[in-house]
Amino acid sequence: MTLPAAAIDEWYPVAMAPDRPLRPDQETTLLGERVRVLLDGQEPRVEANDGRNLPVIVRHGHVWTSLGAPKHDLFAIPEGEQPGRRLVECGAIRVRCSPLRAVENFLDIAHFPFVHTDILGSEPHTEVNRYEVRIREEVDEVWATKVTFYQPQAAKSAQGGITTEYMYRVPHPTCSVLYKTCPPRPGEWDIITLFVQPLEEDLCQVWPWMALFDDQTPQADLIQFQQMIFLQDRSILENQIPRLLPLDPGMEMPTRADLTSVAYRRWLKKRGYHYGAQLVAA
């Protein structure tokens, strides 16, 4: 298939940043093409299948590249630069699903009590309260604000149940940034992101990354908490039908709780981002 320009001229994560005591993966896939991640000293270099050097940005704990020539910079997360934050790279988890479905699932809160039982949600506290969603035209991003939910264990650092406040931001078709109540430091937001590397239209690699205020919890516990949450979603993502994300409403009946998802799909359609999507109504 011919890839849409919106997908080619975009930045994607392909490895953890080389300041981790780990070599980046030698070979990986991006939009169906093999690419190689190499290290020139401490500088990562990414090579396409035909040997040409691809553009590289090292940011947010990861190495980002593009098969095309993006005219825009990779999005920033200014709050992540605040001093005192713990930066946590969680490695890649591969999922047999559309990259867009992985992002959409990240934006959904209604599944918390059923999939992340007694952690991010619990029965009978299943109601999704009213929240606000807007496509911010000036920055071309989707934002969901004033999201609140009762959570038995909102974070590794949380002691007991709290009502958590969330803001979701979609600055990139396959990436989302979540700002969330920070249990040990009220008034600040914890930052939890989902960076998705599209391998194929229905296969992706997810690189969760966090910037937290937490001086107590060992790094391995923080990583495993996030991996545990994401793996609870994985089997569900792999069984969603249709496999590609439908961008046109058809048989599906969204409810108020799905406002973020509706805005995300509309935004993808407006940008012409169809990789991992289906345009026939489902």
């Binding site: 780990l22 890649a92 988890i93 991996q227 609870q232 994985r234």
Partner: protein, 222 residues
């Protein structure tokens, strides 16, 4: 003092120890080891504890266990719940050992396919899935035969360490691209295990939904 489990939340083998402890009503201290992406189980400090570089490891006082089946036996005896070791007649005792050894084949096949599909580890994925499929067929046949004898579990009519050793990699087979749809006896067995008092889940293994009873269940019990 409680036993200490060097633990990785996504490891089905680590989950065996957590599940066993929960089923016999014991508690473990857990130490998280950064298996992925950190690879801490291959670092010198960890190799001093377990030269094989595998997870889990269970320590208690001066005892260091690195084999999961040994941990299951230890946790059961420590709790004085010896019914989990199965019957004492020669055939029952041997059946438990048979399935404990079989569980290693599940790890090497279904477990490998899962590591490949989930964490991108190198593997001959077709060979791993096919070996896993053969294990599942063998398990399905055995469970059907047990049911004909009126037995609900692998080594008789009560759950044993053998069920705990085999359950996790079987239940997580779909994570490695192997469906459980063709195996009704296996699916019924996994429901029986998930219904045991004290059962705990791990990511990918969901608890039975307690708000949705089986049809007629409440009425029949009344």
């Amino acid at each position: 003092m409680r036993p200490t489990l060097y633990d990785y939340v996504l490891s089905p083998s680590c989950y065996k120890a957590r599940l066993m402890a929960a089923l016999v009503g014991s508690e473990l201290e857990s130490v998280a080891v950064d298996f992925h992406p950190g690879g801490d189980h291959r670092k010198p400090e960890f190799l001093m504890l377990n030269p094989a570089g595998t997870l889990p490891v269970l320590t208690h006082g001066g005892l260091i266990l690195t084999e999961t089946t040994a941990m299951l036996v230890y946790l059961v005896r420590l709790a004085g719940r010896c019914e989990w070791l199965g019957g004492e007649d020669p055939a029952s005792a041997a059946r438990v050992q048979q399935w404990l050894a079989f569980s290693a084949r599940l790890t090497a096949s279904l477990g490998l396919a899962r590591l490949h599909d989930m964490l991108g580890r190198p593997a001959d994925i077709d060979a791993a899935r096919w070996a896993g499929t053969l294990c599942l067929r063998e398990l399905e046949s055995a469970l059907v035969e047990n049911r004909l004898l009126g037995e609900d579990f692998l080594a008789g009519n009560a759950p044993t360490v053998a069920d705990v050793a085999c359950f996790p990699y079987v239940m997580l087979a779909p994570d490695g691209g192997v469906s459980l749809d063709p195996y009704p006896a296996i699916r019924a067995w996994t429901r029986r295990i998930r219904a045991l008092p004290g059962f705990v889940e791990m990511p990918g293994i969901h608890r039975l939904h307690d708000l949705r009873p089986e049809p007629g269940e409440a009425e029949a019990a009344a």
